[in-house]
């Protein structure tokens, strides 16, 4: 008996069964005080559609998934090294080709063409709205947080604060808040863009200048607090922000230049194009930044702050810069969301939101612009798909279980993200061997 359990195969099988049993119970129907075992019996008994093929008991689905997990796990252990070597060889030629300039530009143009045609290919109103609110805006947010987390290596858990500042600024300058709009004029939303970016950037600098002297965990705690403070302000400053009701009178973007009159908002598509334009601008800007003097300073600070100082880099200056750039991106995303949905509530600006954006960045690949864009698209499209066409028994809050499981799997097989930044990939590899500065970040021991 003891020998059976000592076998690695049995261990893996039991781990897979246990993991899926937990997942099965967690995603099942909730119990209640009157019927405490309902969650248990219900989740095991309820019928479920098996990949849409035939209906069966939920436990059969999960048993099958557990066996599949065990099989993949075993196969990976047996052939993983060969598979990795083979795929590395297979992609080395296209990868080398993709580094040449014409190929890269060609790919960028192709992606852009698809992005521009997308609203005409997908006409489902749900997806048209999701493409703006849930995907394009999140791409922007992920790009912004990537500057802070990926480029400068700072853990920011209060990113939502700058998004909220952008959204509330839009409401303020367009006269949708209880407090008077600036100079009593109800500005067009376009004016909200520079004002929101400036205010978000300003608050990024105000928050960053004193706190970016802190390292690692401390910075995360301070930013987390800042995110909460902004939400609480929005909730409690009733006379200024409209309190927990927020506002629902934010106008759409509109254009009146001489004979040209255009109003955004009849469908989400114009917003999509507006956001895409800014996504392209931000990507181009961040690409330039990454390879500039500033980008090199960020890399140096991330790798070894003391050494960075010894070559004459002022760490505080460049960290505040990263913080301000990230904040202004979030501020702009706030303008788009507020204008497009016309409404804002404090309850949408939660810690959960900050963490969601961080998940996109980590999943996509910290420090890799392509990675975070792709990560945001993949995760947000997946979440929206589950929301739009939920499988039987799926509850909206189950999403986080799947996201969590996805991240765990990612950390095992692709710790540096979907499309890792080359440098970040190596940094994480070194940290696993217990070398390099990332190790100090991960273990929290700073010299």
């Amino acid at each position: 008996m003891k020998r059976i359990f000592a076998s690695a195969h049995v261990k893996r099988l039991f781990s897979a069964l246990a993991a899926l049993a937990i997942l099965e119970l967690m995603t099942g129907p909730p119990g209640s005080a009157l019927t405490p075992t309902a969650g248990f019996t219900g989740s095991f008994g309820e019928a479920s559609s098996f990949f849409g093929i035939f209906r069966t008991q939920r436990w059969v689905v999960f048993l099958f998934l557990a066996l599949a997990m065990y099989a993949i796990w075993s196969a990976w252990l047996m052939w993983g090294t060969q598979v990795r070597a083979a795929t590395a060889k297979a992609v080395s030629v296209p990868r080398a080709a993709s580094r040449t300039r014409p190929v890269r530009w060609g790919m960028a143009v192709a992606v852009l063409a698809v992005a521009l045609l997308l609203p005409h290919l997908i006409t489902d109103p749900f997806w048209q709205a999701a493409m703006v609110e849930q995907i394009a805006v999140y791409v922007l947010l992920a790009l912004g947080l990537n500057v802070v987390v990926g480029f400068a290596g700072l853990l920011d858990l209060g990113f939502v604060a700058f998004y909220a500042i952008g959204a509330y600024t839009t409401a303020w300058v367009t006269g949708a808040l209880p407090t008077a709009a600036p100079f009593g004029i109800h500005f067009n939303n376009f004016y909200a863009i520079p004002i929101a970016i400036a205010l978000a950037m300003g608050s990024g600098i105000i928050l960053g200048a004193p706190t970016l002297r802190l390292r690692g965990d401390y910075l995360a705690i301070v930013t987390l607090g800042f995110g909460e403070i902004i939400t609480i302000f929005a909730n409690n400053l009733y006379g200024i922000t409209g309190g927990s009701q927020g506002t629902n009178t934010i106008p759409h973007f509109s254009l009146h230049v001489g004979p040209i009159k255009y109003l955004w908002g009849l469908t989400p598509v114009p917003y999509y194009y507006l956001t895409i334009v800014f996504v392209i601008l931000f990507i181009a800007g961040f690409k330039l930044l990454e390879h500039s003097r500033v980008g090199r300073a960020w890399t140096a600070i991330r790798e070894d702050e003391v050494a960075a100082e010894s070559v004459g880099i002022n760490p505080l200056k460049y960290k505040v810069m990263a913080f301000a750039i990230g904040a202004s991106t979030a501020g702009f995303a706030g303008v788009v969301t507020a204008s497009q949905s016309n409404t804002i509530f404090p309850s949408s600006f939660t810690l959960q939101f900050s963490i969601n954006i961080l998940v996109l960045v980590i999943f996509g690949g910290m420090g890799s612009i392509t990675g975070v864009v792709l990560g945001a698209i993949v995760i947000q499209t997946g979440s929206m798909y589950l929301l739009h066409t939920p499988p039987a028994g799926y509850q909206p809050q189950d999403l986080y279980i799947y996201l969590g499981a996805l991240l765990v799997v990612m950390m095992i097989f692709r710790p540096a993200g979907l499309v890792p930044s080359r440098r970040r990939h190596r940094e994480i590899g070194l940290a696993e061997k217990g070398e390099g500065h990332m190790n100090e970040v991960l273990t929290g021991d700073t010299p």
């Binding site: 090199r296 140096a300 070559v311």
Partner: protein, 236 residues
């Protein structure tokens, strides 16, 4: 060129430097000797702005730099090769050298070529990442990175630490060449014999004080130095 006057450094309740004074003149190699915990590294940390002295003064080329921030020292003309090398492990050799010229305006490609002449091994490894270099190569890279900032005074903290004797010889030969090319050097070393053979002058530190200083030749024959740092029995 560099003058330290009565500098006191405290870490909380512990006093690491009890008012030390010394000077480095143009064109010299000056070495600071001392056992572990004598205050050598604290002295260099102070001189590179990482830890400001609580009292006393640091004068560099007639300018009081006591309160200057760490990142401004390269602009002043003081280069620092930190203890443990601290090269950027994920940057290539070339990127490491380039970032050494961070504060400089204009082209530095000539200096880059000069570094590759001084350290031919770095040229061979220019596209490799710093973390994959051997200890000796990393030390050369750290020195090269500091030199890219065109310092007039170079601070070296334990350049021989953890290196094979043959590599140490190379490093010391290069330090001599750096001095010959016009850069003043302040060298902190545990390897007293080798440091004194290279240096012009030396100071001996004990428990956060400079107990005495003299020309390197005199220190090499000094009975106290021989007893404590060169491991010789005075009587024999």
């Amino acid at each position: 060129m560099l003058e330290v006057r009565e500098a006191v450094v405290r870490y909380g309740a512990i006093t690491a430097l009890h008012g030390i004074s010394f000077e480095v003149n143009q064109g010299e190699i000056v070495t600071l000797l001392g056992a572990n915990g004598a205050g050598k590294s604290t002295t260099l940390r102070m001189l590179s702005g990482l830890h400001a002295p609580q009292s006393g003064h640091i004068i560099f080329e007639g300018q009081d730099v006591t309160k200057t921030k760490a990142h401004m020292f390269t602009s002043l003309g003081i280069g620092h090769v930190p203890e443990g090398r601290r090269i950027f492990p994920q940057m290539t050799v070339e990127e490491n050298l380039e970032i050494g010229a961070f504060r400089r305006r204009g082209s530095y490609s000539e200096d880059l070529e000069r570094m590759y002449e001084t350290f031919p091994i770095l040229k061979e490894r220019r596209k490799q990442i710093g973390g994959n270099l051997s200890g000796g190569e990393q030390q050369m890279l750290a020195i090269g990175r500091a030199l890219m900032g065109q310092p007039r005074l170079l601070l070296l903290d334990e350049p021989s630490m953890g290196l094979a004797p043959m590599i140490v010889d190379t490093i010391f030969r290069i330090i001599g060449e750096i001095r010959d090319s016009g850069t003043t050097v302040l060298l902190v070393e545990q390897n007293a014999a080798q440091a004194l053979r290279l240096a012009d002058r030396g100071y001996v530190m004990e428990n956060g004080r400079i107990v005495f200083g003299d020309s390197a030749a005199n220190l090499l024959t000094d009975a106290r130095v021989r007893a404590v740092y060169l491991g010789e029995n005075v009587e024999s």
